[in-house]
């Protein structure tokens, strides 16, 4: 039986999932153990589930194309949607810990694929705790871009270790990023902005990207405009603080 428009989670007019059916708690605690499947290793990530038009279920990882961009804590997925058409040849994935939000992004991608045949085949989302399971998804040097847009601030000092950017977690991000890969961070919380910059600045495997380079990078413009959180901040006329760094080889 078909559901009536009023109850359907998909809007009839836009064919996109309605956000109000996917409302969730504002914050998640990344330390609590949730129950969702985790791939044993990057070679166990089933690309045919994420990119069905590009991979058949018989494809066995191997030398085939790999995911290159990761949007960590992707929220409602605005950035991924923009990146998908900007880099149509690149596989990308969003990582999100909230179940409902992940479902929303999934539906959003499916709807876009239906509405725009041939497009949005390179983008997907997964529900996971990025702070624990990034190495289960990506191998050494696999990624060329990682995004951390408007992450949860966790103000209290005792909760700083819940922040998605920290010296220790940067070790893991440096591992999954190839040399030359770029990490993009942005926030509207000045204190967190300083924190992320300090962590990156102090890390031996990252170096700041020059202003001139930032100018020429089309992705930088998306940081403050493409995501739901970014748009909210912009509407309220809030200031943003970004830190964009390149993965370098550690000096011995």
């Amino acid at each position: 039986m078909l559901e009536k428009e009023g109850h359907s989670k998909i809007s009839k007019s836009t064919h996109l999932p309605r956000k109000r059916f996917y409302r969730a708690r504002a914050h998640s605690n990344p330390l609590s153990d949730s129950h969702f499947p985790v791939p044993i290793s990057p070679s166990h990530v089933d690309y045919s589930v994420h990119f069905p038009q590009l991979f058949s279920s018989s494809d066995e990882g191997g030398d085939s194309k790999k995911i290159e961009f990761a949007d960590v804590g992707c929220g409602f997925g605005g950035l991924l949607i923009s990146l998908s058409t900007l880099f149509p040849e690149t596989l990308m994935i969003g990582m999100e810990i909230r179940d409902k939000v992940t479902e929303y992004v999934k539906e959003r991608i499916l709807a876009l694929r239906v509405a725009n045949p041939g497009q949005y085949q390179n983008v997907s989302v997964v529900r996971t705790n990025s702070m624990k399971y990034i190495p289960n998804y990506f191998g050494k040097g696999q990624l060329s871009k990682m995004f951390f847009l408007f992450p949860d601030p966790h103000f209290k000092e005792k909760n700083h270790r819940r922040r998605v950017i920290s010296t220790h977690l940067l070790d893991e991000y440096a591992y999954v990023l190839g040399i030359g890969g770029i990490i993009y961070t942005i926030t509207d919380v000045e204190e967190l902005g300083d924190w992320m910059k300090d962590c990156l600045e102090g890390h031996p495997m990252f170096e700041a990207i020059t202003e001139a380079e930032l100018e020429g990078d089309p992705v930088v413009k998306l940081l403050s405009s493409a995501t739901e959180e970014g748009q909210k901040v912009a509407r309220n006329g809030g200031q943003t603080f970004q830190a964009v760094y390149r993965r370098i080889a550690p000096s011995l």
């Binding site: 609590s32 050494k140 220790h168 070790d171 440096a174 495997m205």
Partner: protein, 433 residues
């Protein structure tokens, strides 16, 4: 509003009991057993027990010891555990030369191959390094401060090892992860460069050990897990070379028709220093399983099971020296409810722990009787707490050990109800009432 967290090992005690541990001096000079907060040392060469001397003005251990280890050259010994103290001992005079306070309870320790750094892991998954530069065997080190070098995100680290060439530090956790990090020239600045992750275990990783391989100076890594497997890894690439299912074998041996659940978690591993033999202690196996590592074929296979008759003996820890062909085993737990003899441990030894050549029968691994053990009665009296252990007490202990190991090793899966209950009864929430 802040959400309550279930943070492993944070506000509550996940684990009430601690297994007994054993450590053997690389030159077979001393045998150390820890049980609860008790550290027992026996001098094999002198044939006498050793009295520990603590000059560092810090207290001796006040709570369960969770990790003990000799340095590669046998000059140093480290003990650490639930009392958050890391004690560094001169492994000759048995004076404590330094006591370092950790912020959290300590779950694993390792000493760098050059003997310059002691590393320890805490219950929050952070590995710390302590510089021993200027270490003088007879001098007390003061004001030593550890620096954090790497972290597993909020997962208890169960084992820390250095690769055979000392270039890498390997950390295993209670999730299923094994991380191989380059141990840098200046460790106090952090071990930021990850060489590989060894991923394949589907349950907690309980133990790590190294196997020598001629063309691989770093050695091959073997790991044991709650998934009832021992796995062989190439640490430079992180690739899984072989998986040996030990659970089915151990379960089969134990099968007694009672249909009870088998806990075949691998508890500890020990390798022959110059060879390729791996001894495994397994949850449901009374005895030891010996595995053969074939370096050229890069494979692991079950070679033999040495079973222990007379009293149920499931080892909680294994140790060996670099020279002697003895495999030392201990079983015991810190507290046994309902038993007075709370610091009971049982020590057993297997001789002929080396690759057996086909034509020498006398070198087959054999379980020694108590009167055949190096150190004899004196050693047993010191390390066990008593020469002979009454059978009744002993089998009760074995049961308790079994239970304790289950609780210790099997990660708690909280039901939704329990989760709610734990949230409501958390210490920090209770205070408000």
């Amino acid at each position: 509003m802040e959400e309550p967290a279930i943070e492993e090992g944070d506000n509550h005690r996940d684990v009430e009991v601690a297994p007994a541990l054993i450590s053997v001096h690389p030159d077979h000079k001393f045998i150390v057993v820890s049980i609860g907060s008790d550290l027992r040392v026996f001098d094999l060469q002198g044939g006498c027990s050793v009295t520990l001397v603590d000059d560092s003005s810090g207290p001796l251990h006040k709570d369960s010891i969770r990790a003990i280890r000799f340095g590669a050259e046998g000059k140093l010994f480290v003990s650490a555990g639930d009392d958050k103290l890391v004690k560094i001992w001169n492994a000759n005079s048995w004076h404590c030369i330094s006591t370092v306070c950790s912020e959290k309870r300590v779950s694993a320790v390792a000493i760098s191959k050059d003997g310059l750094f002691v590393c320890f892991a805490d219950k929050f998954g952070v590995v710390w390094a302590l510089n021993l530069d200027g270490f003088d065997e007879n001098q007390v080190l003061v004001d030593k401060k550890a620096a954090p070098v790497l972290a597993h995100y909020c997962s208890i680290i169960t084992s820390l090892e250095f690769s055979l060439d000392g270039r890498f530090i390997i950390s295993a956790d209670r999730d299923f992860k094994i991380r191989v990090s380059v141990f840098p020239k200046k460790p106090l600045d952090g071990a930021h460069e990850i060489q590989s992750f060894c991923l394949g275990h589907t349950e907690f990783v309980s133990c790590l050990a190294f196997v020598c391989a001629p063309d691989y100076p770093e050695g091959f890594l073997v790991s044991g897990s709650g998934d009832s497997t021992v796995r062989l890894w190439d640490i430079t690439s992180g690739s899984l070379l072989d998986t040996c299912e030990v659970g089915s074998q151990a379960g089969f041996l134990e099968s007694n028709g009672r249909g009870e659940e088998h806990y075949s978690a691998v508890i500890d591993l020990c390798t022959t220093p110059d060879g390729t033999l791996v001894a495994a202690a397994i949850q449901s196996l009374q005895g030891i399983m010996l595995l053969n590592c074939n370096i050229s074929a890069k494979s692991l296979s079950i070679a033999k099971v040495v079973s222990i008759t007379g009293g149920s003996f499931i080892p909680t820890s294994l140790g060996t020296a670099s020279c002697a062909e003895f495999l030392w085993m201990v079983t015991g737990v810190s507290t046994l409810h309902g038993l007075d003899s709370h610091s009971l441990a049982r020590v057993r030894v297997i001789s002929g722990f080396r690759i057996s050549s086909p034509d020498s029968v006398e070198h087959e691994p054999t379980m020694l009787e108590d009167d055949e053990i190096p150190g004899g009665e004196k050693l047993l009296e010191k390390l066990q707490g008593s020469v002979s252990i009454e059978n009744k007490v002993f089998s009760a202990a074995a049961e308790a050990v079994k239970m304790a190991m289950c609780n210790l090793l099997i990660k708690k899966q909280y039901s939704a109800d329990k989760r709610e209950f734990r949230k409501r009864t958390r210490n920090d929430k209770k205070i408000k009432q």
